[in-house]
Amino acid sequence: MTGLYIHSVSAFIGEALADTDLLKEELHKYAQENFRRVNRFILLSLIGARECIHGHSIAADTAVYLTTEYGNLGDTVVVLDEIYAAHSLPKPFHFINTMSNTATFYLAQNLGTRGRNLTISSQYLSFERGLDLLMTDLTAGAEQSALIGGVDVASLPGAGGEERDTRGWRMVDGSGWFYVRPEHEGACGAFRENRSFRNEAACLKWIRERGESPVDVVAFGALIGGEEASRWREALRPIADFSYLDQYGYCGSAAACGIGMFVKHFPGKSLLHINRDPRGNYAVLEVEVF
């Protein structure tokens, strides 16, 4: 994987169920417009993305890739209650906002961009899969710059709980974004690898074979438990662990937020992020911070 340079980054972590007026205040640090008809998910998307590009002028054809586990879950609940409990037609904007791509629409409108505009999801690996699509577009020459982010509202009790390792992480809102371009000049970091594996053995084999390039820090996705993490540490012998889930809390887009935090806070270091989905597929991201 070459030529995916990070030119700016953000990682917003918010308290679960915080008043949306507080989120609007946060957004006003980066954007002066009055945003109507926006919900928590859209506000989170705007906060993270606007913080990310703050101080940058971005090209008109910049693409937007929003990766998410749950999307606009909140408005889906509201609309179901409007129909089934209040016995009403749903309010138009609640219904429109059940479609999660309204967040990327408001973002593109606010930034004045007219590039590719996608909202995608892939159980526990949404951010990694989003990067796959971004690389496809860059290779095809369909674009020269992109904003890619992971956004999720604090996940609700029960949602995904059975599969996830429950180590007492606090539930948070998260919005982590990366402004990426193919050129090295002016970059603060780079995505060096984005690899997918059918199982742990295939992933381990690749890690053993790449031996010549040691990593400074490792981090693990939500489904990798303590015992398994020990096996990876043994194989990789990193200088340190970056336990972003313990440190910042969990949301569906914790990986994007955690990697964003790493890029912000660890200049000169490299990170190997190992993640897996419930079917046992693995995805490894390597990030280098300049």
Binding site: I83, Q109, I120, D132, A140
Partner: protein, 391 residues
């Protein structure tokens, strides 16, 4: 041997049939079935038409058993895999691209009939993220590889197809199963009525008397591979996606953003507008959307618009599923030797100033454009070809 991305297998179920052959025959002879559904939960004194899957009484929304959602989904996915003739080893190296608007909301609405819990409670307890449906298909059918779930409103499965094809074309993937699926749900039916977008009786895209869209339900699946399996397998030549930031629910009526999408797709395919033999329009039948699309086609084709067909009057607006489902309906009709007429069209609209085909038109091989638009300003164009397939 040609390289690229080829549609090597397909399966579909919708209001007019449960096999591509049935669907094409219904399209050829304009056999259309419209149900009329009411809004009992909101106590409204009228009905609106809907294109329901209605093979028998068990298909009625109120009769649908637990597991109906997955039965339709798994059988359609399995049908496309069987049509392509994929082996178990090939399935292990297949990736899944899924596009939907309603996702698993019909499941939660269905559960509501059999428990006393509120729908939103069921939804909150059980919802497991957008990616869950794709994972279930992969587990059930033994599909390996990664999964990509697209939630871009009405362009969802069109974008799923666009990226699957692009990734195969670049050699990133060997093979993909692309699914578009939206099943009847009150959230969508009541939601679009709240937007006053639903037509009252007949679907008439581009017509002067059009009065909105008619929703439909469908599941469509295609297998995409780097090499054709049969002569005449459609090849993906190029495509594009962009965001028209004019409004979250409507487009700039000048059509510039939509035209730009078509032009970028033509550029990616490396062909001139004049090479397009026919266009499958998105044609929702709503006031603004139809005017915009027609303006965009006139811009793109410099006034010389090729034959245009609107296929929603056959199966309804299947929202997130329409990308794959309309692709199957359209390409299978082309394979059968005709470009479908547009049922319901009677009178040209001055604002649209475009007459779609009103009779089936005989067609051989060619290059075809398929357009899709959705809420959130999402615009997607695909260019497919079956030229040279028999060479």
């Amino acid at each position: 041997m040609q390289q690229g991305a080829f549609v090597t297998g397909k399966a579909m179920i919708c209001a007019i049939g449960e096999t591509p052959e049935q669907i094409v025959e219904a399209v050829r002879h304009r056999r259309i079935h419209l149900a009329h559904l009411s809004f009992p939960l909101a106590g409204l004194p009228y009905t609106r038409p809907y294109y329901l899957i209605m093979r028998n009484e068990a298909d009625r929304p109120e009769n649908r058993p637990d597991g109906y959602f997955t039965e339709i989904l798994f059988s359609t996915a399995a049908g496309a895999i069987a049509d392509a003739g994929l082996s178990d080893i090939e399935l292990g190296k297949t990736h899944l691209f899924f596009g939907s608007t309603s996702m698993d909301v019909p499941v939660f609405e269905g559960n509501h009939r059999i428990t006393s819990a509120s729908v939103s409670d069921i939804f909150l307890r059980a919802s497991n993220g957008y990616g869950k449906i794709a994972s279930a298909v992969m587990e059930r059918l033994g599909i390996g590889g990664g999964s990509y779930t697209f939630t871009t409103a009405c362009t969802s499965s069109a974008n799923a197809f666009l990226y699957a094809a692009a990734m195969i074309g670049q050699g990133r993937l060997e093979r993909a199963l692309v699914i578009g699926y939206d099943l009847f749900n009150n959230l969508g039916f009541y939601g679009f009525e709240g937007l006053k977008s639903l037509a009252t009786s007949t679907y008439r895209p581009f017509d002067r008397q059009r009065d909105g869209l008619i929703l439909g339900e469908a599941c469509g699946a295609v297998v995409l591979e780097g090499r054709p399996r049969s002569a005449g397998d459609f090849r993906f030549l190029g495509g594009a996606n962009l965001c028209d930031t004019y409004s979250v629910t409507s487009h700039d009526e000048e059509g510039t953003a939509v035209a730009e999408t078509m032009n970028r797709a033509l550029g990616q395919a490396g062909i001139a507008p004049g090479a397009i033999r026919a266009v499958k329009a998105h044609a929702t039948g709503t006031e603004n959307s139809d005017r915009t699309e027609c303006a965009a086609m006139r811009l793109t084709f410099s006034g010389r618009v090729p034959p245009v067909t609107c296929v929603k009057p056959f199966i309804g607006h299947t929202v997130g599923a329409c990308g794959v489902c309309e692709l199957i309906l359209f390409t299978q009709s082309l394979k059968a030797g005709f470009i479908p007429a547009t049922p319901g069209f009677r009178e040209k609209d001055e604002g649209c100033n475009l007459t779609p085909l009103t009779e089936n038109e005989a067609v051989g091989e060619g290059i075809f454009m398929l357009n899709y638009f959705g809420f959130g300003g999402n615009c997607t164009t695909l260019i497919l070809s079956n030229e040279g397939g028999r060479a």
